[in-house]
């Protein structure tokens, strides 16, 4: 593939809950600047935002990479946190290992991963307990099946 793509990478600070979501916020802005459809930019931003929140509350931060192709957008979220022991359990709506403190902040309702799956067209999770998690999400342009 010698396709020219546009990509960027943003560090996600795991120590500051207040700034969780900044990477998604700037990604949404960039996608709009690139002239991408509002609906698509919103899907990417929401899914990435949930992922970013997960990285902050469960994994002490990490790196978010976004790559824009001619027909799709790929978002890769990498952390070196504790990993996910049981992916199918983590994918269940309402299941969460977040603490009460996190719930007080409005997250940890067990909707993070399900939301990411819902808003992306394809999602792959590579994880190892004690080593970290990488989530790869793909969003196809012109695909309106995942309405936001």
């Amino acid at each position: 593939m010698d396709e020219n793509t546009i990509k960027w990478s943003i560090d996600v600070d795991g120590c500051n809950f207040d700034t969780a979501g900044v990477a998604s916020q700037s990604t949404k802005f960039k996608l709009k600047q690139l002239g991408l459809d509002n609906e698509l930019s919103r899907r990417v931003a929401i899914a990435m935002y949930e992922g970013e929140i997960n990285m902050v509350i469960h994994a002490n931060g990490g790196v978010a990479e976004v790559e824009v192709f001619s027909d799709k957008i790929m978002v890769v979220l990498k952390d070196t946190g504790k990993g996910i022991a049981d992916i199918s359990l983590a994918m269940q709506e309402g299941y969460s290992t977040a603490t009460e403190d996190i719930r007080d902040l409005g997250f940890g309702a067990g909707m993070g991963l399900p939301n990411m799956k819902r808003y992306s067209d394809n999602m792959e999770i590579i994880t190892k307990v004690g080593e970290g998690t990488t989530v790869i999400m793909t969003f196809y342009m012109g695909n309106q099946s995942q309405q936001t």
């Binding site: 979501g21 916020q25 929401i46 935002y49 409005g106 909707m111």
Partner: protein
Amino acid sequence: MKISEVQEILGAQIVACAENVDVEIKSACGCDMMSDVLAFVKDQSILITGLVNPQVIRTALMMDMKCVVFVRGKKPDEKIIQMAQEHGIIIMTSDLRMYEACGLLYSHGLQAGGLKG
């Protein structure tokens, strides 16, 4: 319904972006869990919540919402107000409880809007 009418119905105080109150809105959502807002909301323009932290504004931003109403007398800090101002999101505060605020707006014709299944 215009956002200025929402303010009137709720007896709310506007603390950010008062210049945008002429914006027309069609539906609202009341919720304290931001993940649920991200999961279930579709095209709502107003978020009514008792949760006060910067993530509320960020959630509104992600969802392209135009206004956040903090109920139960909750007051946003300067950081939250500044963030809303940067992005043109109106913030208002009301002493009403969530149930009452939502009920009043609903009975004045503001719908829940399209919820996603």
